[in-house]
């Protein structure tokens, strides 16, 4: 640390005139204090982690001619209910009883992967890909929707759409206490 020189310096009686050698060290304490204060401030006010986004493409519902029919044999419908639960079934509504499932690795993801494999085994060529229809009910949360869309990416499903739920399916959710 540098100290202030208060000796007055300079002339000694009768002696040689010597230039006073002052220390080149400067007191940095205050400056460092300030620097750390500012660092702390900027650390707290910045968002280091940039938000991430998932891109979603909704079908263009203004053009009626571009709508494709979904083949029942290779389509899986996922109904989003309340309490973070889902129901899913293969094929047409009402023909097969839906399975109630949870989100996550051992729930919905496992079901999607199994069904995907089944579709791939029973179909050939371009029809090997499974189609997924996501139908959120009015009691489902946004988190469920995002989680389901995320599963599409994880399980590598390329054809999926968010579709309005039908009364029949709502009734089924109600029966299982998910509405």
């Amino acid at each position: 640390m540098a100290e202030l020189d208060t000796s007055g310096g300079g002339k000694h009686k009768g002696g040689k005139i010597r230039s006073k050698k002052s220390s080149t060290r400067v007191d940095l304490t205050a400056m460092v204090d300030l620097a750390f204060l500012l660092i702390t401030f900027f650390m707290y006010t910045t968002t280091l982690q940039k938000p991430k986004a998932m891109n979603l493409a909704m079908p263009d519902n203004s053009v009626k001619t571009s709508q494709l029919a979904i083949a029942a044999s290779r389509s899986m419908t996922i109904l989003l209910g309340s309490h973070n639960k889902v129901e899913w079934y293969m094929g047409e509504a009402g023909k097969s009883a839906p399975t109630v499932d949870n989100f996550g690795k051992d729930g919905l993801r496992k079901a999607i992967l199994e069904n995907k494999q089944k579709v791939a085994d029973t179909h050939t060529g371009e029809e090997k890909l499974m189609e997924v229809v996501i139908k959120p009910s009015d009691k489902s949360t946004y988190q469920d929707l995002v989680a389901t869309l995320d599963e599409m990416k994880i399980t590598d499903i390329h054809i999926y759409a968010i579709v309005k739920i039908s009364a029949l399916e709502l009734g089924d959710l109600q029966k299982n206490g998910l509405q």
Binding site: A35, T46, K52, D138
Partner: protein, 191 residues
């Protein structure tokens, strides 16, 4: 001491250069996690925050905000003073109906936190305020910068689907079918 000082200033420079002030989001939306890693753009963005059944509107460019305010004011018969316009230009996010926007802009910045923001009225008709805000902001962006605005939705985890669907269908009415859903990065892949 010198070394510490050097490090301190190096860090300080880094933080100053990377600093992007946190925007105080009145929607208090906690976004859901996902495994998507696409970074959100900073510029040319409309962000629609949805939380507690309210929608908040935010557009990134100040001149676009000002331009959109003028058009919206003319549409709804509200005139804004230059001070109010200036204040709107520096307001990053808001969620008040047109009828109360003037009062919102006249409130002192220190008291803005207490101003009850009731969300922008949105219904699925072609003439809701939210629809018009999005539409005018997009027009203003094309007029001022000849660019297209990207739209992203930042909704709360617990938000019920009908509200989210309402916002999505408003976008659909303007033929906006591609947009981003802001999520946080899920660290573990097996939830």
């Amino acid at each position: 001491m010198t070394a510490m000082c050097d490090v301190a200033f190096l860090l300080l420079t880094f933080f100053i250069l990377t600093a992007k002030p946190k925007i105080d989001d009145p929607s208090h939306a906690t976004v859901p996690p996902s495994t998507y890693m696409i970074p959100v753009a900073d510029a040319n963005m409309i962000t629609l925050s949805v939380g507690q059944d309210k929608v908040f509107f935010s557009v990134s460019e100040q001149d676009v905000r000002k331009e959109a305010l003028g058009v919206m004011g003319a549409k709804y018969g509200v005139s804004f003073t230059p001070e109010e316009q200036q204040r709107f230009a520096v307001t990053p996010i808001f969620g008040v109906p047109m009828a109360r926007l003037k009062a919102f802009l006249d409130t002192e910045p220190t008291q803005l936190k207490d101003f009850p923001q009731t969300g922008i009225p949105s219904d699925t008709t072609n003439n809701s305020e939210l629809y018009n805000w999005i539409f005018t902001a997009r027009q203003a962006e094309v007029g001022l910068h000849q660019k297209l605005l990207n739209v992203s939705i930042k909704a709360d985890r617990g938000e019920l689907y009908p509200k989210v669907n309402e916002v999505i269908s408003i976008l659909g009415k303007q033929k906006l079918f591609k947009f981003d859903l802001i999520t946080s990065l899920k660290t573990a892949s097996n939830k």
